[in-house]
């Protein structure tokens, strides 16, 4: 299962991912020109937080034991059985914000239409738009082992990671992994 990974050292905090996500996934016109004129303003599902020099692009980690799934009382929050990605079926969402309250990472966004909005890793597209638009390559769409290889390459040697098998890691690990990884 592919996940979005972050190479923290490469993030310069430019917010290109935010911009492209908002245009591609929340605007009607799908171009920057039209997006900036739309009302309500298109909102990104990824957020770049932290000070300049310590910026971090944060989006849903698709946790294995996802608190948002348990919290949703309307059946809107679902997990794709094939990819493991968690997504919102908007027509079932009642805007109660239980998922927003449950998410420890704050990556579920209350939309202007009173539905919960979150990263679904652009599951209908070939690759997430944040990943394909990142100018520094700080975002990667890879399996866990694929990402380990990227890190290993980066180090110029094979690295040993005390990690479980693929899919055995919760989403939060994605971030801790980055901490350990570089």
């Amino acid at each position: 299962m592919k996940r979005i990974w972050v190479d923290r050292e490469k993030c310069v905090g430019c917010k290109t991912c935010e911009l492209r996500c908002a245009i591609e996934r929340d605007s009607v016109g799908k171009t920057l020109y039209s997006a900036v004129q739309e009302e309500p303003k298109p909102v990104p599902r990824v957020g770049v937080f932290g000070r300049t020099g310590a910026a971090f692009p944060l989006q849903c980690r698709h946790c294995e034991d996802a608190p948002c799934l348990a919290a949703c009382p309307s059946g809107a929050m679902q997990r794709d059985p094939e990819t493991g990605l968690i997504f919102v079926q908007a027509d079932r969402c009642r805007g109660c914000w239980m998922c927003v309250m449950a998410c420890p990472m704050g990556v579920i966004i209350p939309s202007a239409y009173k539905t919960a909005m979150k990263c679904d890793a652009c599951r209908h597209m070939e690759a997430p738009v944040c990943v394909s638009s990142c100018p520094t390559g700080a975002l990667l769409f890879e399996t866990e082992s694929g990402y380990q290889k990227v890190l290993a390459e980066k180090r110029g040697r094979l690295a040993l990671f005390a990690r479980g098998g693929e899919g055995g890691a919760s989403g939060v690990v994605g971030i801790e992994f980055v901490r350990e990884g570089h």
Binding site: G50, G75, C99, P104, G106, V107, I109, K114
Partner: protein
């Protein structure tokens, strides 16, 4: 083959049934539900009254889904008595259902305040899908309604009835709306919106009696005041539905008392969801959190323990989330500070944020108007995190602020 029996088909019961099926494909899993509707979403009920959804929209899983999991459901049958010695539950039909492990997920029931006229026609409680249908039906013939209690359900119901075109008033005996979840400042912002929607909000006033004519409600009587109503909805809170457990001699506090494995005082009988009394994660005090996510989690943990895995349940804290009159709000932990607590607030128009700090720990947070990032703050409360340099009130507050600590 182990026989699992679950009483109640709400969030906790269904979560337990699914978990049991997952861990034991061969076990017999039976659910008994006194309600005649299949597993439904409670959050939809006000929207059904408002006419935005139909009762069918609220169904989360019906016969087909339960059949697919080979979960036997006896819908519309009331469990009358537990025979703990004989390991069986007696139904009102007289049938006896045997069990090896029993889960009481009987939920909660609305509090019925003693008041003259309380039993009159036209007096309703909004708790079940069946209640919703009755209120919907009554609202078609009514021109005015009074909702008693300005909690989450009361306000939602009032707004729904207003959307149907009724004259609506809400009466709350506490000094402000949603006293459990909000402080005075937040409540004022919300009350303003509710009034803006055309609802009369009366706070700090007790309903002394319901006025009736020929056994039908015609209004509510307050201190020196009368409000006309063709129908009354009473929403002064809910309490754990413990009758079945109490009848079997189970220990009862605010709900069915459970140990860390969600087992009641009777071995082999477990409780989960709104019916179960658990421990407050922060104080250790007995509480009944009564929220959907907590019920799902407890159902899962109870099921794991019923299946013989020893999984301790940590407890929970009081928290709630709702959107009323266009205002989203999330309230977690203690939001009304005790004597030695420090509180920090920031307000800008209809957006309000509050943090209550006890010692070095975040003990409660309230987000109103803009709830983005409320989950990050809620998690700090749950983890008893030391607040350190984290500024929850800052507009830049995010998970990255927590990571940076």
């Amino acid at each position: 083959m182990t026989k699992y029996l679950i009483i109640g088909q709400g969030a906790a019961g269904t979560s337990a049934a699914r978990t049991l099926r997952q861990i034991d494909p061969l076990a017999s899993v039976t659910m008994i539900s006194a309600e005649s509707d299949w597993f439904y979403s409670r959050v939809d009920l006000p929207d059904i009254i408002a006419g935005k959804l139909s009762p069918e929209d609220a169904i989360l899983a019906g016969r087909e889904q339960f059949d697919a999991l080979k979960i036997e459901c006896r819908i519309g049958e009331t469990a009358r008595r537990i025979d703990p010695a004989g390991q069986a539950v007696e139904l009102s039909s007289g049938a006896r259902v045997p069990y090896d492990k029993l889960l009481l997920a009987t939920g909660s029931e609305p509090v019925v305040p003693p008041m003259p006229g309380g039993g009159a026609r036209g007096v309703h409680y909004l708790w079940t899908l069946a209640d919703t249908r009755r209120i919907l039906e009554a609202s078609r013939a009514a021109r005015s309604a009074v909702v008693v209690g300005a909690g989450l359900i009361g306000l939602k119901t009032a707004l729904a009835l207003k959307e149907r075109g009724l004259e609506v008033a809400v009466v709350e005996k506490m000094l402000h709306v949603m006293p459990q979840q909000l402080d005075e400042t937040a409540a004022a912002i919300l009350a303003d919106k509710v009034q803006g929607a055309g609802i009369q909000v009366v706070t700090g006033m007790q309903v002394n009696a319901l006025e009736t004519v020929d056994g039908k409600v015609t209004g509510v009587l307050l201190e020196q005041r009368r409000i006309v109503a063709d129908m009354v909805v009473i929403a002064v809170g809910v309490r754990a539905n413990v009758a079945l457990g109490r009848g079997a001699g189970l220990e009862v506090g605010r709900g069915l008392v459970t140990n860390e494995f969600l087992e009641t005082s009777a071995p082999g009988i477990y409780a989960a969801g709104d019916a179960a009394e658990i421990r407050d994660l922060l104080t250790g005090a007995p509480i009944v959190p009564a929220t959907w996510g907590v019920a799902v989690e407890q159902g899962k943990v109870a099921a794991l323990n019923m299946a013989g895995k020893r999984i301790a349940y940590d407890g929970a804290i009081g928290m709630n989330s709702v959107d009323i009159a266009g205002i989203p709000m999330i309230s977690v932990g203690t939001i009304n500070p005790a004597a030695d607590d420090r509180q920090f607030t920031v307000q800008s128009g209809d957006t309000y944020r509050k943090v209550v700090v006890r010692g070095k720990q975040v003990n409660g947070v309230l987000f109103l108007g803009n709830v983005r990032q409320a989950g990050v703050a809620a998690n700090l409360v749950l983890r008893r995190a030391e607040i350190g340099e984290i500024d929850i009130l800052s507009s830049n507050f995010s998970f990255v602020s927590v990571m940076a600590q």
